[in-house]
Chain length 249, copies 2
């Protein structure tokens, strides 16, 4: 396969890191491989890109075939192309991540996999995955962490109605950092991106929390008007010296 100038003897695939959020922690959807290579190992869902198919389309297709979901947040992250990353030939892969609400979907049967499951992200990163999927997962997780500091993408992972505590737990999982309840509420409410539904949890063994909804229209308005959604780094306990910002005036 390698060697001479066989430029058109290569293929490209997409791999899709599908994130969900449930029971207070971040999950990733994995497929247990039923064929060689890497038979029996867990892998990220992916597929070769059809010759007449755009890359994003292929990534959406992988997602939809697996979950039945459409209109999902999807973002291209990085392309992995080490020469020997695929044992069967030169296959580079374009990595995407997507964010889904675990609440509102059921898994489809995926013919090419024995098994499909949600796995905790942190523990998955310590496990061996097929191919270079550990590197891909880590890369996409970092991209998500970064993205969530800049844009309110977290809502893509929550059910339509959620409590502020659920939202806070989500951010804590994504940022791997504990947040102060009062400060978090103050800030998140000051964005005007949440709609107070004036509804409450039911059947919980404690004071029921208010339910909120993400105000997507409002966000798109603000975004269109050039407003930025800035998320700052928190100061660490051990007073790290800040490298001062460069921008002024």
């Amino acid at each position: 396969m390698n060697g001479e100038n066989n430029f058109f003897k290569s293929a490209f695939s997409v791999d899709n890191v599908i994130f969900g959020f449930d029971e207070g922690d971040l999950k990733v959807l994995l497929i247990k491989r039923g064929t060689d290579p890497y038979n029996g190992l867990w892998a990220l869902p992916g597929d070769l890109v059809y010759p007449n198919e755009d890359l994003d389309t292929a990534a959406y297709r992988v997602l939809e075939e697996l979950t039945g979901l459409k209109n999902v947040y999807l973002e291209q992250v990085h392309t992995f192309g080490a020469v020997n990353r695929h044992p069967l030939g030169r296959v580079i892969t374009i990595a995407y991540f997507s964010l889904v609400k675990i609440s509102d979907f059921a898994l489809k049967a995926a013919s090419f996999a024995q098994n499909v499951e949600w796995h905790n992200v942190e523990s998955t990163m310590k496990t061996e995955l097929a191919f270079d999927h550990n590197a891909i997962l880590e890369n996409c997780f970092n991209a998500l962490t970064q993205r969530v500091r800049i844009r309110p993408v977290g809502f893509e992972l929550l059910p339509p109605k959620f409590t502020l505590t659920e939202l806070q737990h989500l951010y804590e999982a994504l940022l791997r950092e504990e947040l102060d309840k009062r400060n978090f509420r103050k800030k998140i409410l000051s964005t005007s991106l949440l709609i107070d539904l004036d509804q409450f949890q039911e059947g919980v063994p404690h004071r029921p929390a208010k339910l909120y909804q993400f105000n997507k229209q409002r966000y798109q308005q603000l975004e269109a008007h050039g407003f930025s959604f800035e998320v700052k780094e928190s100061k660490k306990k051990e007073k790290k010296k800040r490298l001062a910002a460069l921008i002024s005036a």
Copy 2:
């Protein structure tokens, strides 16, 4: 070419947006195409990836063949794979940008190009380039703008010795924003990333400015210790409402 399942009848290339900084503005290195398709149009340097070559290696090779430079800042940005982006077949391309010091290199003759030139970035973005290279350029420029807010990559574009005013002009070009001289100096000096060389400009028709050098060792130290180099967005004149940060505690 398109149509049936010719998975291995496709190719991938790298394109490299090579940025330089000279005379107060940001430049990009372009090649005038001497063959069809797009004969006569300016294009980004790029090449097909060899079958036994990693993607990053290919991007470095393109850069080195063109400029003779090694050990240059290089970053993968995005992969472009629209079905019809290349008139001769299915060719997806992985876009990189690199940052070079215009001062210290001479262009090599590039056999596949009639002409190689530095072009002003802003005006190039208003011109038609070959293939989807307008989209690639814009994407890479945005990536650079973002990167420079987070990491001190600007120094890669300056000669080894520079004045604070030159550095400020660079940041102004990258961020498309005017900066306040005093605040800029205060902040940049407070990072301890600059070495005061105690040398001065010569032969300038005004008070000569001090020369500084980037302290790479120091930066790597800080980076290794988990310090962050944070660059904040400046507030605009028209007091835009800030969407408050989400992180606290």
